[in-house]
C-alpha cells in the first residue's frame, strides 16, 4: 500500500516525523509499521512534549522503592509492606461516551497497579465538568459518575475519595482522572523489564476486538466538529473479566513464574510488547495468528493497535507454562503463548509465518521524538480587588451562596453511588480531607486524597503548582497521616501553543519546588495534553494524588466537630487574600489577581506541628482551610456533625470579609478539648507556630458574634440541595 500524505496525517504524524521514520528505517514503512510508529510516537505514549520538563521532578527519597518509569510508583510503608499507586486521565473517551469512558479509565488504572503485584485497595477520582448550565454537563456528570461506580463497585474495590468541580473552561472538554492504590509485599513486586532470550510471551485476559483502534492517537489530538466520527473507537469496559484477571494474576504471582508483566493499556499489544523488550534491551517476536480475537478477519494492523480492555502480556520463566495455564483456565480466561523474546533487538511480527513487519525496538522507544517546545513565562498578575468598591453583601448571604454552589455542595449524591466499604478496611470514607484505608489485617493505615486548583494555576502557574502540592500535603496531615509521596496527572491544553507550554513548564517548576521542600516526591503520573476544542484550551489542571501513612490507627481523625464547648484554634496567619478566591467568584463572578502565596517554611512547620498534636491525641477534629476560606471550613466542620460554633470577631480586623473568606495558605482549624489546651499551647509556642483561639463549639447554632447566627440544620440543608435539584 502506498503511504500517502493523507494516511500519514490520519495517523497523527507530522511530515517531518514521517521523514524521520524513513530515515531511521532506511526504507518506507508498510501500513502496519506506520501504525506502530504512530502509536508509539504520539504524545500519549512518547511524552514528546513533556519529557524534558518531567525530568525536573524530584522522584527520590528514603520512602521510594520505584519512581516514575514503571506501570506505577512504589513506596515503602514499613515492615513488609509497599504501596503501589498511580493516576491516569481518560478525558477524551469520557467526553465521547461518559459511562464507558470513565469505566474503562478506572479499569485501566487498576491494571497498572495490579500488574506490579499489588492488590488494589482504593480508588480515587478527579472529575471536572463544564458549567452546570451547559447542555451537556448533566448527562456527562451522570454518565461519568455511574461509569466510575459501575466499574469499581463490580470489581469490588472501594472508591473512597475524589474531587468534583464545575467550570466553563471544561464545557467542551471534561476531565476524568482515575487513581488506584494497591498494597503489595515489598519482596513481591513485579516489573515490566524482559529478561532472557527465547522466553514465552503470553497473552492473557479478554479477546482482542476492533475497539479503541487509534485510541492513543485520539488522546493526543484536539477535538473538532468531526470528533463524532471517532466514536467507533470507544471501548466497553468489562469489570467482571477484570476481576477474574486480577485474581488470576495475583494467584500466579504467588510463586516465581513471572519474569515480566505488563498490562495492555494505550496502544495495546504494541506498547506492551515494545516496552517490555525495550527495558530488557531485547527483541520480541509475535505470531499474530495466535492472538485470541473476538471478531472475524482481524488484520495484524488491527490486532497490534486494538485497545480492547482487560488484557495483559506476561513473559514466563521456562517450564512454568502449564502451571500458569491452569490458573487462567480456572478463572475462565484466555491464555495463549503468542511469541518469544529474541536477541535481535527487533519487534518482529509474523502472521502464519509471513513476515508482516519488523522494526528495531530502539526506534520506537529511545528514538521517539522529543520536543523542546517554545514557551512563554507568565507574570504575576497585579490587579487588586478593593472590597470597598464592591456592592456590599452580608457575610451570611455570601457564605450561603458558597455552600450552596455546585463546587462546594455536599457530594454525597456522587459518593453514595460508589461502594466505599467493600473490603472492610475503609476507616474514613469520602467527605473528609482524605480517606483512610487500613492495611488489611494490620493496625496501620494509609491516607489518600486528590486535589487540583485550576484557577490558581491559570493565574500564576508557578504559585499554583506549589499550592496544589501543599494543599494535598495539608489534607493528608489533617487526617493524621505523614505525607509520603504523590502521583500527578497533568491536564493541559495544546502544547504547540507557547502559552500553554509555559503553563505546563511553570506549573511543574512549582510542583517541583513544593515536593522538594516537603520531601514529598513524585513516584508516578500521567500527562494529558490537547485538552481543548478548536484552539480553546482548558485552564491548566494538574491533579495531585497523595499518599500518607498512619503508623498506628487508633481512631481516625476527621473534620467533624466532636463535642460541645471545645476550643477552636486557627493555625497559621490570616492576611485576607481575596484575589482568585471562591468568595469573589461565587458572589461577584470576579476571577482576577494572583493566587495566594505559599510560604513553604510555614507550610512545613504548621503541618508538622499539627501532625504532632494529632499523634499525641490532643485534637478532637482537624480541617485544613482551602477554597472559601476560614468560614467555609468552619461550616464544613459543623455540617454533618451535631455542633455549631461561636466565633469571636478578631479585634485588629480590617474587614471581616477578608478575614473570613481570604484564602491564605498553610492554615488549619483544630478542635481541642479544654483539658488539652495548656498542653497544646505549650507545644505550639515551643515550635513558634502562629495560632489564634477563635472561639468554641456549641449546640445548634453556627454563630459569628455580631455578624451572623444560623442553625446547623439550615446550614446542612443549604449545603445538601444542589445535586438533588440539578
Amino acid at each position: 500500500m502506498q503511504i500517502t500524505d493523507k494516511i500519514i496525517e490520519n495517523h497523527g504524524l507530522t511530515k517531518d516525523e514521517y521523514k524521520n521514520i524513513q530515515k531511521l528505517l532506511k526504507r518506507n514503512p508498510n501500513l502496519l509499521e506506520l501504525g506502530i510508529f504512530s502509536a508509539m510516537w504520539n504524545e500519549h505514549c512518547s511524552y514528546k512534549s513533556s519529557r524534558i520538563h518531567l525530568k525536573k521532578l524530584p522522584t527520590k527519597g528514603k520512602q521510594v522503592i520505584q519512581g516514575p518509569g514503571e506501570n506505577a510508583g512504589v513506596i515503602d510503608i514499613g515492615d513488609e509492606d509497599a504501596i503501589i499507586f498511580k493516576i491516569e486521565s481518560h478525558n477524551h473517551p469520557s467526553y465521547i461516551e461518559p459511562y464507558q469512558g470513565a469505566a474503562t479509565g478506572v479499569g485501566g488504572i487498576l491494571r497498572d497497579v495490579f500488574t506490579m503485584g499489588a492488590r488494589p485497595i482504593a480508588l480515587l477520582n478527579s472529575i471536572h465538568f463544564g458549567s452546570p448550565s451547559h447542555p451537556k454537563t448533566k448527562s456527562l456528570l451522570n454518565g461519568v459518575v455511574s461509569g466510575i461506580g459501575g466499574y469499581g463497585n463490580c470489581i469490588g474495590i472501594p472508591t473512597v475519595a475524589g474531587e468534583t468541580k464545575f467550570n466553563e473552561t471544561y464545557n467542551e472538554n471534561i476531565l476524568v482522572n482515575a487513581m488506584a492504590v494497591g498494597h503489595a509485599k515489598k519482596s513481591k513486586i513485579f516489573y515490566s523489564k524482559a529478561k532472557g532470550v527465547n522466553k514465552a510471551v503470553v497473552y492473557v485476559g479478554s479477546k482482542t476486538g476492533r475497539d479503541g483502534i487509534h485510541g492513543a492517537s485520539m488522546a493526543s489530538a484536539e477535538f473538532d466538529e468531526n470528533s463524532e466520527e471517532k466514536k467507533p473507537t470507544v471501548q466497553v469496559g468489562d469489570p467482571f473479566t477484570e476481576k477474574l484477571l486480577l485474581e488470576a494474576c495475583l494467584e500466579l504471582m504467588r510463586d516465581d513464574s513471572i519474569i515480566a508483566i505488563q498490562d495492555m493499556g494505550a496502544a495495546g499489544l504494541t506498547s506492551s510488547s515494545v516496552e517490555m523488550a525495550s527495558k530488557g534491551l531485547l527483541g520480541i517476536e509475535l505470531n499474530l495468528e495466535k492472538v485470541p480475537c473476538r471478531e472475524e478477519n482481524m488484520t495484524p494492523y488491527e490486532m497490534m493497535l486494538s485497545e480492547s480492555q482487560e488484557r495483559m502480556l506476561i513473559i514466563l520463566e521456562d517450564g512454568k507454562e502449564n502451571h500458569a495455564r491452569e490458573i487462567f483456565k480456572k478463572w475462565d480466561l484466555d491464555f495463549v503463548v503468542i511469541g518469544k523474546t529474541t536477541n535481535t533487538g527487533n519487534l518482529t511480527l509474523r502472521y502464519n509465518d509471513n513476515l508482516e513487519g519488523e522494526i528495531p525496538i530502539s526506534l520506537l522507544s529511545s528514538s521517539a521524538p522529543i520536543y523542546e517546545r517554545e514557551f512563554s513565562k507568565k507574570r504575576v498578575p497585579t490587579d487588586k480587588i478593593k472590597i470597598k468598591d464592591l456592592k456590599k453583601i452580608k457575610l451570611e448571604d455570601a457564605l450561603l451562596k458558597i455552600l450552596s454552589s455546585p463546587n462546594h455542595s455536599n457530594k454525597s449524591w456522587i459518593t453514595n453511588q460508589y461502594d466505599q466499604m467493600v473490603m472492610c478496611d475503609t476507616a474514613q470514607r469520602s467527605g473528609s480531607d482524605a480517606a483512610v484505608i487500613r492495611i488489611h489485617g494490620k493496625d496501620k493505615a494509609i491516607a489518600v486524597t486528590v486535589d487540583s486548583s485550576a484557577n490558581y494555576c491559570k493565574s500564576h502557574p508557578y504559585t499554583g503548582g506549589k499550592q496544589i502540592v501543599s494543599e494535598n500535603w495539608r489534607n493528608l496531615i489533617s487526617v493524621g497521616a505523614k505525607p509520603l509521596a504523590i502521583t500527578n496527572c497533568l491536564n493541559f491544553g495544546n502544547p504547540e501553543n507557547k502559552e500553554i507550554m509555559g503553563e505546563f513548564a511553570e506549573c511543574l517548576d512549582g510542583i517541583k519546588k513544593a515536593c522538594e521542600f516537603l520531601n514529598f516526591p513524585v513516584v508516578s503520573g500521567n500527562v494529558s495534553f490537547y485538552n481543548g476544542t478548536n484552539n480553546k484550551n482548558i485552564d491548566p489542571t494538574p491533579v495531585i494524588g497523595g499518599v500518607g501513612l498512619i503508623k498506628k490507627l487508633v481512631q481516625p481523625i476527621n473534620h467533624m466537630f466532636k463535642g460541645n464547648n471545645n476550643i477552636i484554634i486557627l493555625i497559621g496567619k490570616t492576611f485576607g487574600h481575596l484575589e482568585q478566591s471562591c468568595y469573589l467568584k461565587e458572589n461577584y463572578s470576579i476571577i482576577s489577581g494572583k493566587p495566594p502565596e505559599v510560604n513553604l517554611i510555614n507550610e512545613k512547620n504548621n503541618g508538622e506541628a499539627v501532625l504532632n498534636l494529632i499523634n499525641l491525641n490532643l485534637i478532637s477534629s482537624a480541617h485544613d482551610i482551602s477554597s472559601g476560606g476560614l468560614i467555609t471550613a468552619l461550616s464544613e466542620m459543623s455540617i454533618g456533625s451535631n455542633f455549631g460554633v461561636k466565633i469571636k470577631k478578631p479585634k485588629k480586623l480590617t474587614s471581616s470579609i477578608e478575614y473570613f473568606f481570604g484564602e491564605d495558605q498553610s492554615r488549619y482549624i483544630l478542635e481541642i478539648n479544654e483539658k488539652n489546651l495548656i498542653e497544646v499551647e505549650k507545644i505550639l509556642q515551643s515550635k513558634n507556630i502562629y495560632y489564634e483561639k477563635i472561639g468554641f463549639t456549641q449546640d445548634n447554632n453556627f454563630e459569628i458574634e455580631g455578624e451572623m447566627k444560623i442553625s446547623i440544620n439550615d446550614l446542612f440543608k443549604v449545603n445538601n440541595q444542589w445535586y438533588n435539584n440539578y
Binding site: 463490580c154 469490588g156 467482571f240 476481576k243 453514595n416 466505599q420 481516625p556
Partner: protein, 225 residues
C-alpha cells in the same frame, strides 16, 4: 461451628464475610463454585458481590452453578443458609427464597448506612437482638428493590417471615426511610422453615468499631448460639 462461604467468579465480599466469621470463632472454609461437594457445615454463606458481573440478572447465572445443587440439598436438610446482598439475589434465583430483587427505584447504585428494624428475633439468626431493635447497617447494591406477589407477601407477614425492614433512626417504617423501593420496606426475609435468611444489608461490614460499628455482630453471635 463450621461455616462455608461459596465463592463465585465475581463475588467480592467473600473475604469480608470470612474475616467476620473467623472473628466470631467460626471454623470457616471457602468453597469454589465448581466444586461438587460441600464441606461439613452448620452455616453456608452466599456472599455479596457481582457474581458473573450481575450480567443478565443479578444472581441468575450463579444460580445455575454446580455447587448450588449441594446448597439446595443442605438447605432441605435444615442447614442454616445466609445470603447477603448478591447472595440474597442468588437465593431468589434458585427458588430457595421467593420473590425477586428489582432495580433500585432511583436506578442508581446505593451505598450508605441505613437503619433497619429487627422484625422477628425468634430465629437462629436474630435471637441475640431485641425485638424491634434498630440497627445501622451498610447497604451497597443496584438491585435491592424487593418485590413479591400479594399471596407471598401475606404469607411473609402472617408467618412472621420478614427479618428486617428499613426504617429511620426512630424506627419509623415509611416511604422516606425506604432506600430502594422495596415492598413494605423489606430488607430481608426467611423461608418458611426459617433456616434460610436473605438480606440486602451487609452485617459483615459492621463488626469493627474502627471501620463502622458493631451492629452486625449479634447476627453471627445468634447463629453461633
Amino acid at each position: 461451628m463450621n461455616s462455608s462461604v461459596i465463592v463465585f467468579p465475581g463475588s467480592n465480599c467473600d473475604r469480608d464475610i470470612a474475616v467476620a466469621l473467623e472473628k466470631m470463632q467460626f471454623k470457616n472454609k471457602m468453597v469454589w463454585h465448581k466444586e461438587t461437594k460441600l464441606p461439613k457445615s452448620d452455616l453456608i454463606v452466599i456472599p455479596g458481590g457481582f457474581s458473573y458481573g450481575d450480567y443478565l440478572r443479578s444472581g441468575a447465572i450463579a444460580g445455575k452453578s454446580l455447587i448450588i445443587d449441594e446448597v439446595i440439598k443442605a438447605a432441605k436438610s435444615g442447614c442454616l443458609i445466609l445470603g447477603i446482598c448478591n447472595g440474597f439475589q442468588i437465593l431468589t434465583e434458585t427458588g430457595l427464597l421467593k420473590g425477586t430483587l428489582l432495580r433500585n427505584r432511583n436506578l442508581k447504585f446505593i451505598n450508605k448506612d441505613v437503619n433497619i428494624k429487627v422484625i422477628n428475633n425468634k430465629t437462629s439468626f436474630t435471637s441475640k437482638y431485641k425485638l424491634n431493635q434498630i440497627l445501622k447497617i451498610n447497604i451497597a447494591h443496584n438491585e435491592g428493590n424487593y418485590f413479591t406477589d400479594k399471596d407471598h407477601l401475606n404469607k411473609l407477614k402472617n408467618e412472621n417471615l420478614i427479618a428486617f425492614q428499613y426504617c429511620d433512626v426512630n424506627g419509623n417504617i415509611s416511604d422516606q426511610s425506604n432506600p430502594n423501593g422495596a415492598v413494605e420496606n423489606i430488607a430481608g426475609i426467611y423461608n418458611s422453615k426459617k433456616n434460610i435468611l436473605g438480606m440486602m444489608p451487609h452485617p459483615e461490614r459492621m463488626v469493627d468499631n474502627l471501620i463502622s460499628n458493631t451492629d452486625g455482630i449479634n447476627l453471627f453471635a445468634s447463629i453461633m448460639n
